[in-house]
């Protein structure tokens, strides 16, 4: 589904990604962990080209990310959820959700609304359809953001520290939605600090540090017997 080869990314002189090779299979849930500044968010953002890679090859769903046309095509198939929700504040929950299907997919209004309400029901916010984002809690906003991404019927979902900006009591409701998605067979790449989620839902864990993949493997294996000393240090700090 996602194929990454020798991906490099520099911001000016700072090299953030130093050669990432990675393959994500269909219906796989890959959890990316690592300390801040390890490049995990940048890696994720390269996958739908919110960041322009300095060099390397990325192929998503068979389409190489090498032109503007391809990038827009891929973004339609790849949903992304952000740390800071990024809901459109001038639109209600349902308007946030139907905008892209209407504008990009040219779905007609009734159909888009129907799908939007179904998705809101799915994330437990059917009754909040007409609320503006600032009337919603962080957890609710993030669930709307997930519904918004799902409205495009993506084949892949990218989650960029989706629970890091939330109050602790709201983390659970967002993770629950993500778990449901994983169970339904969505292909997911999840950057997170939630090790419980990684262990429970992840098919594979990737540990990144200093711009490279230090270790990867099955979650239980990585958490129980980390092979790389850096992984050990990182896990000992957060577990």
């Amino acid at each position: 589904m996602i194929f990454v080869k020798n991906l490099h990314k520099s911001f000016g002189k700072l090299e953030v990604l130093k050669g990432i090779d990675c393959h994500v299979h269909e219906k796989e849930v890959v959890v990316v962990i690592g300390p801040s500044g390890s490049g995990k968010s940048t890696f994720l953002r390269c996958l739908n080209k919110l960041e322009e890679p300095t060099s390397g090859e990325i192929i998503v769903d068979g389409i190489p990310l090498n032109s503007e046309v391809n990038v827009n095509a891929i973004r339609r198939e790849v949903g992304m959820v952000f740390q800071r929700f990024n809901l459109f504040p001038h639109m209600t929950a349902i308007q946030n959700i139907v905008l892209a299907p209407e504008v990009v997919r040219k779905t007609n209004k009734e159909e888009a609304r129907k799908i939007g309400l179904e998705l809101l029901a799915k994330v437990g916010l059917y009754d909040k359809a007409d609320e503006y984002p600032d009337r919603l809690s962080g957890g609710q906003q993030q669930r709307v953001a997930i519904a918004r991404a799902l409205a495009m019927k993506p084949k892949i979902m990218l989650f960029d520290e989706t629970t890091s900006a939330l109050d602790p009591e709201m983390v659970g409701e967002v993770l629950a939605v993500m778990k449901d998605l994983a169970r339904e067979g969505m292909t997911m790449v999840v950057v997170t600090h939630e090790m419980g989620f990684a262990r429970e839902v992840g098919d594979r864990v990737i540990f990144m540090d200093e711009g490279i993949i230090m270790e990867e493997g099955e979650p239980n294996e990585v958490f129980a017997n980390p092979k790389n000393p850096r992984t050990k240090v990182f896990l000992s700090k957060i577990l």
Partner: protein, 223 residues
């Protein structure tokens, strides 16, 4: 001091004031269109487009409006090699000069508004597959526009006052009308006070309208 002069000439002054409003409205319309266009050009990825917008803004912001009025009024007929000026050409030239000038200021207002919108907004829009134009139209500009209302109000007020400069090309707007009456009556103090009052009323109207727009948009969905 002869206040009768003011009372007697109220209707003529009102006519001048109306023309002032019309000139300003025309210039605002041109200015907003140019401003939006130039703001987007100024933020373009393409160097040449950006440089063009910067040159435009620098020129019209960096030279006096009075000079620009003359440049347009006398320059266009020369460039187009007109033998005579068409009737009422001064209105066209006046509105155009003010619109061109205002476009530069409004461009900067729009640019600031667009740049004040969190980058996450356009990233969210783009990540949903929207093109840059779609992201601008549905996500960025509606939010940016609300934030530009107060500075836009300032610009409209400034423009209305600056329209008095158009008297120099014999457009009978408010100030010109006042000047003519003074020439006839030799009552500068009451007449110019009346002129000032007319301007004040009009700028107040704009200020009130801006405040109203701010409240209305703010209540519904400026979040």
């Amino acid at each position: 001091m002869n206040w009768h002069v003011v009372v007697d000439n109220m209707p003529i002054l009102a006519k001048g004031a109306l023309l002032t409003l019309e000139l300003t409205a025309g210039a605002v319309a041109i200015g907003v269109v140019i401003g939006l266009f130039m703001a987007l050009a100024r933020l373009s990825k393409h160097k040449v487009v950006r440089a063009g917008a910067i040159a435009y803004i620098d020129f019209f912001r960096g030279t006096p409006l009075l000079v620009q009025i003359f440049l347009v009024y006398f320059g266009i007929p020369m460039l187009l090699k007109w033998q005579t000026m068409p009737d009422n050409y001064q209105y066209t030239a006046g509105i155009l000069a003010m619109g061109l000038n205002s476009g530069a200021y409004i461009a900067e207002i729009f640019r600031a508004g667009i740049q004040s919108i969190d980058r996450g907004q356009s990233e969210a829009a783009r990540s949903l597959g929207m093109t840059q134009a779609q992201a601008l139209r549905y996500v960025i500009l509606p939010q940016a526009f609300k934030r530009t209302i107060p500075p836009l109000g300032n610009e409209f007020i400034a423009l209305l006052k600056d329209s008095s400069l158009l008297s120099i090309i014999a457009i009978q707007e408010l100030f010109y009308t006042g000047k003519i009456i003074v020439g006839r009556t030799y009552q500068p103090l009451p007449m110019y006070m009346a002129v000032a009052l007319y301007y004040l009323v009009m700028t107040q109207l704009i200020a009130q309208w801006v405040a109203y727009m701010e409240r209305r948009l703010g209540k519904n969905d400026l979040r």
